[in-house]
């Protein structure tokens, strides 16, 4: 296992590089997190909401037609797209929302890129009766107008960020700035396994329901563990969530898929922090960062807004360094092909983020025998992307 040490480090990655105003709020959060994790009533309320509200367990689906069309190993999908709000993000926001209630915070803030985490947080706020404000880059707000509408409909205040590259990284910075001024009353509900300690550990704990369920389902339905587990990596929460359960299964190969955008070798045209980044510090953690030689954070680009982030959760940097997980890139074109392919072969329209994982799974399947099992995290549904394309956005 690779949990964080007491200072929030996974190997050399992680930590808490934040302005002094945020140190005490993070310590308070850390203490509350440990208390909640040790409290059975917390988990029972969490489990109840995951079942009755989110609709868990999410299905495990053997994608026979996709497997045949890829022409090789058996591809199995963990269907986070079936969750309420359509992605894995809600597993995390409900956990953090319950923690916010325990901490008697009266307001939640969040950053969002694709809008999925924003919608999940707005949803959780409505469910638990906590007012929510969501920061979103102006560029993303334009690309994800459906999710912006949904957040407002759910009662959240949407704050459009015009600074920097006007995408997820800037929305995240803005959320941290808000929190610096409001931490007494406000819970910052971060959307992935990124940020300063204890966030990567906190988010991981709520994401790992994906892997825990999938591992048990594989054993029950297939009578065995998968040979491969594949997940896309933006900040890295769905990937950590599914990997967590398999880290100890040394025969199971783990694959993280980064967004290669217009190509891994086109600087500022991809979002492959692990494959093309260098060690740096962003949003409170030491991790792999896409940046120039002077430490200025680079612009990124991916067709999947949820992967369009220049850093990655520190645990992934560690899993890369340790060699336990192999990271690969899938570009826009390949992701779009997988998006249509899964729709046509199985009637499942995946999020473009998830389509990156599907694309790699098909690649893996091609060369392998039918009795090898490839488990893929289908982290979300693609309605948000279909809405963009239905509006005529080119793809």
């Amino acid at each position: 296992m690779s949990d964080a040490d007491e200072h929030g480090y996974f190997g050399q990655f992680g930590g808490r590089f934040v302005p002094e105003v945020l140190v005490q709020p993070l310590q308070e959060l850390e203490a509350a997190m440990h208390a909640a994790f040790a409290d059975e009533s917390f988990w029972s309320r969490y489990g109840q909401l995951l079942r009755d509200y989110v609709g868990r367990p999410s299905p495990l689906f053997v994608a026979d037609r996709l497997s045949s069309s890829a022409g090789g190993a058996t591809i199995v999908l963990k269907r986070e797209d079936c969750n309420h709000t359509g992605a894995h993000k809600i597993n995390n926001t409900i956990g953090q929302g319950l923690l916010a209630l325990r901490m008697r915070k009266t307001r939640m803030i969040a950053e969002t890129g694709a809008g999925q985490h924003g919608v999940a947080t707005a949803t959780t706020g409505a469910l638990l009766g906590i007012p929510v404000e969501v920061y979103i880059g102006a560029e993303d707000a334009r690309r994800q107008s459906l999710n912006v509408y949904l957040m407002k409909l759910l009662g959240a205040t949407v704050r459009v960020v015009e600074s920097g590259s006007r995408t997820l990284k800037d929305a995240t910075s803005e959320a941290f700035r808000d929190w610096a001024a409001s931490a007494g009353s406000t819970f910052y509900c971060i959307g992935s396994v990124v940020g300063a300690h204890p966030y990567p550990s906190l988010v991981k704990r709520f994401a790992r329901v994906i892997g825990d369920e999938a591992r048990a389902q594989c054993q029950e339905r297939l009578g065995r563990l998968p040979d491969h587990v594949v997940a896309c990596v933006g900040g890295g929460s769905n990937a950590i969530g599914i990997f967590a359960a398999f880290l100890g299964d040394s025969q199971t190969k783990l694959w993280g898929v980064e967004a290669a955008g217009r190509g891994l070798d086109s600087p500022a045209e991809n979002a492959a922090s692990l494959l093309r980044g260098t060690i740096g510090v962003l949003h409170g953690a030491r991790t792999m960062v896409l940046q120039d030689g002077g430490g200025q954070v680079s612009a990124t680009r991916s067709i999947a807004a949820g992967l369009d982030y220049p850093a990655v959760g520190p645990e992934h940097a560690h899993l890369q360094a340790s060699g336990r997980v192999t990271y690969v890139g899938v570009d826009d074109r390949q992701a779009l092909d997988a998006f249509s392919e899964l729709a046509r072969q199985e009637g499942i329209v995946p999020a473009l983020e998830s389509a990156h994982a599907i694309a790699h799974a098909c690649d893996l399947a091609r060369a392998r025998p039918r009795d090898e099992v490839i488990l893929v995290s289908c982290s979300g549904r693609g309605d948000k992307d279909a809405a963009r394309f239905a509006l005529g956005e080119p793809h």
């Binding site: 200072h7 930590g15 808490r16 590089f17 934040v18 302005p19 002094e20 105003v21 140190v23 005490q24 709020p25 310590q27 600074s163 920097g164 990284k169 800037d170 910075s173 941290f176 700035r177 610096a180 001024a181 409001s182 931490a183 007494g184 260098t278 060690i279 740096g280 510090v281 962003l282 949003h283 409170g284 030491r286 960062v289 940046q291 030689g293 002077g294 430490g295 200025q296 954070v297």
Partner: protein
Amino acid sequence: MSRNLGAATISGVFDGCKSADRAAFVAYLMAGDPLPSTTAALIRAAIDGGADIVELGFPYSDPLADGPSIQAAATRALRAGTTFDSVLQIARSLPVPVPLVAFSYFNPLYVRGLERCARDLHQAGFAGAVIPDLPPEEGAEAVAVFASAGLALSFLVAPTTPAKRLSLIARVSTGFIYVVSRMGVTGSVTVIDRGTKALAQRLREQTDKALAVGFGISTPQQARMVATFADGVIVGSALVDLIASSPPDQALPAVRSYCARLSAACRRGADNA
């Protein structure tokens, strides 16, 4: 500590001000804003106006601790092509040595390498540095490296900093301690938080090091109030806004006269009530 020339220089300034019954006036400027070529003159104008110390900001793409004014200044500076090296160049180009403190986020320092940064800053004439997103728990290496390069390294305390950490920060800071006057990020406010004085007093019980208060101070009235309990008054966003809003040919006199008013407000004598 006595071998840390930078820390000694900075302490010297604070000592001098104390003898003159005034708080030190620390002026923050963003290097490269609006252009790398204008910064040296703006620094001189601030000094001419009475700045006792100049904090020089290294522009960064993701300035988490800064509000809109300084974010925008960093964006302008980066667009104008400002790099770490060009800030060093600006510092070296100043005709007379002034007490300069580097204000930089951690990542550019980390990526360049802390040892190399410390050496370069020292050679360019900086006396010390503030790294706003480096809490002391993550700062052990920086403390050692900067100290051995003869540079002060000032940490920040905030209204929420618990007592135990106050003493840690007091212990590891050199040059001065940066007292953040409120929760939040940089940027002008209308009222200085009432807790700031209490925070300075709590800190004073732990240390004799100079305490400079910043975040939000923009008017002579505010400076005057802060000067009654702090060793230094730091003004940043207001100065950056002034430069941004002045016509190019009037920025220098505007900075000079604004600094003069702030510097005057830092006097503690009966003439300044």
